[in-house]
């Protein structure tokens, strides 16, 4: 027995117009200082103003939002008492809005106490609309939020509840047109990794499988086009759809080891999330191939690799991902990403510890022991193929 959970998804050109039809008299827009300076915030506010409402903006979401940052957003909500929250931005803004939503509705709870087993009883005060401005995290479609616990210098990856799935996700391609090249590459690689990990997860299921495979297919075709030509509206729309499909896929199965190692790399070395999971992905596939080669070969086949042997198809998939990363001007190893040997050696024990504490590690098709996690990080650092 399992569940499939999804927001109502409004997608395609002019989909923002539907914001007008969403009920809410007091609207709090949660965004970050970068987005608030772009015309996207104006577009959202103008659309909201087509109905009589009071609107307030909280524009102080930090990248990789900390508990403190989320509490600040929640304080703004407590002060303003909204009946509709609009999360506008990348994964950080949407995740911060999810956290703030919980604290607004349930001031009796602490963020660290929230887990999939906590009954939140949300939607007594407000509903949540997500409008992503990146095409990667899929947070607009998921029931998880990645928040940073600064006291432990780690990303909390069990802040999750099916109640946290936004009520609406609005995918208007205009909102990703201004995404810089690097962010296009990193967020696209995040989406790709999410879909791959969802497809091979121990918790995989038929519903997530379909979304994952189609998302991978779209990303291989359209991500390079969106990267090369940022004004290509079709490529932007396709990658945006694929990111949300990937979010739906992993939200309803799980992400795996590339995400637990990626979260650790983000927390310890402050590597951008998409880059961290992008670098981890090929190494994790090589490691997991022993127990999931047939699944990886399915993925290879949908991107056009014609190879019957599961293992060879998986090898070719890894090569295709690496070629895509090179095409997107993305480093293939932690060393290439600029992490010095001494920094790596100083941090590796903490990376291992955090990877071992992540729930994502234990739904990976092959669960590593502590020594294997160490060897995996060394391969990621050196850029060496995984042969154990």
């Amino acid at each position: 027995m399992w569940f499939f959970t999804s927001p109502k998804i409004i997608f395609g050109e002019d989909s923002l117009e539907q914001l007008r039809a969403i009920e809410g008299k007091r609207v709090l827009v949660i965004t970050d200082p970068v987005v608030s300076k772009l015309d996207m915030l104006g577009l959202v506010v103008d659309e909201l103003k087509k109905e009589p409402r009071t609107i307030e903006v909280f524009d102080q979401v930090e990248p990789e939002p900390s508990f403190e940052n989320v509490e600040k957003a929640a304080a703004a909500a407590h002060h303003f008492q909204p009946d509709l929250l609009v999360a506008l931005g990348g994964g950080s803004c949407i995740d911060a809005a999810k956290g703030a939503w919980v604290l607004y509705e349930r001031p009796d709870l602490k963020l660290e106490a929230v887990s999939p087993m906590t009954k939140l009883d949300l939607r007594k005060k407000a509903r949540l609309v997500a409008i992503p401005t990146t095409a990667g995290t899929g947070s607009d479609a998921t029931w998880v939020a990645v928040l940073t616990d600064k006291s432990q210098n780690m990303k909390l990856d069990y802040f999750a509840s099916r109640e946290l799935v936004p009520d609406y996700s609005i995918l208007d391609p205009r909102f990703v047109l201004k995404l810089p090249k690097e962010a296009t590459a990193y967020s696209g690689l995040d989406a790709l990794d999410q879909a791959i990990e969802a497809y091979v997860s121990q918790w995989r299921n038929d519903f997530a499988d379909g979304l994952a495979l189609r998302s991978i297919q779209i990303l291989f075709e359209y991500l390079p086009k969106a990267f090369d030509n940022p004004d290509d509206l079709l490529a932007r729309q396709k990658t945006q759809n694929a990111a949300t499909m990937s979010g739906l896929a992993f939200s309803n199965s799980q992400v795996g080891l590339a995400h637990s190692t990626g979260h650790a790399l983000g927390a310890i070395f402050h590597v951008a999330h998409g880059l961290a999971v992008g670098i981890s992905n090929p190494y994790v596939i090589q490691f997991s191939c022993r127990d999931a080669a047939e699944r990886y070969s399915d993925i290879a086949h949908v991107i056009g690799i014609k190879e019957e042997s599961y293992e060879k198809a998986t090898e070719m998939l890894v090569e295709s991902i690496k070629r895509l990363m090179v095409r997107l001007k993305t480093p293939l190893s932690l060393r290439e990403a600029g992490i010095s040997k001494s920094t790596f050696e100083q941090g590796v024990d903490t990376l291992i510890e955090q990877t071992n504490r992540s729930t994502c590690t234990f739904v990976n098709p092959r669960v590593p022991d502590v020594e294997e996690v160490r060897k995996l990080f060394v391969c990621m650092y050196e850029g060496k193929p995984v042969d154990f």
């Binding site: 999939p116 918790w203 669960v367």
Partner: protein, 139 residues
């Protein structure tokens, strides 16, 4: 001919064998080296098990310091209580249910500091895998 002795689940024999296996598991010892917290495992009656049963495990820094089959009517407290119907326990021990998915789908309930458990998934996984290695005869 080698005869494998099977311990009936749930029983005092079974929980004692579980303790022995767990204390011999080096992976568990490493994964749970900072764990502090005892457990009550509550096996609720269902169509297959007429009388409910409760087993107690004192887990501390990678070792199990003691176990007991709790007598009916006895009040025993623990930091964590993991409970579910007998049929679901059978599936858990036979690895047909993932312990976390079991919680998410309501097949099991956990009382206690959930965040602490979710930071110790490797230890939980080793614990369940070890339970699967106890030669078990189901009621």
């Amino acid at each position: 001919m080698m005869v494998t002795y099977l311990a009936k689940f749930p029983s005092e024999e079974w929980i004692k064998l579980f303790m022995e296996q767990l204390n011999a598991n080096k992976n568990y010892e490493e994964a749970a080296k900072t764990w502090e917290g005892d457990f009550l495992f509550v096996i609720n009656a269902d169509a297959e098990l007429k009388e409910p049963a409760t087993m107690y495990m004192d887990l501390w820094h990678g070792k199990c310091r003691g176990v007991a089959l709790v007598n009916p009517g006895e009040e025993r407290k623990a930091a964590f209580v993991y409970s579910g119907p007998y049929g679901n326990w059978k599936k858990l021990i036979n690895k047909q249910i993932d312990p976390i998915q079991g919680l998410l789908t309501g097949k099991f309930k956990l009382q206690g500091d959930m965040a602490k458990v979710l930071r110790a998934v490797r230890a939980a996984k080793e614990l369940v895998e070890t339970a699967g290695k106890v030669p078990t005869e189901f009621a």
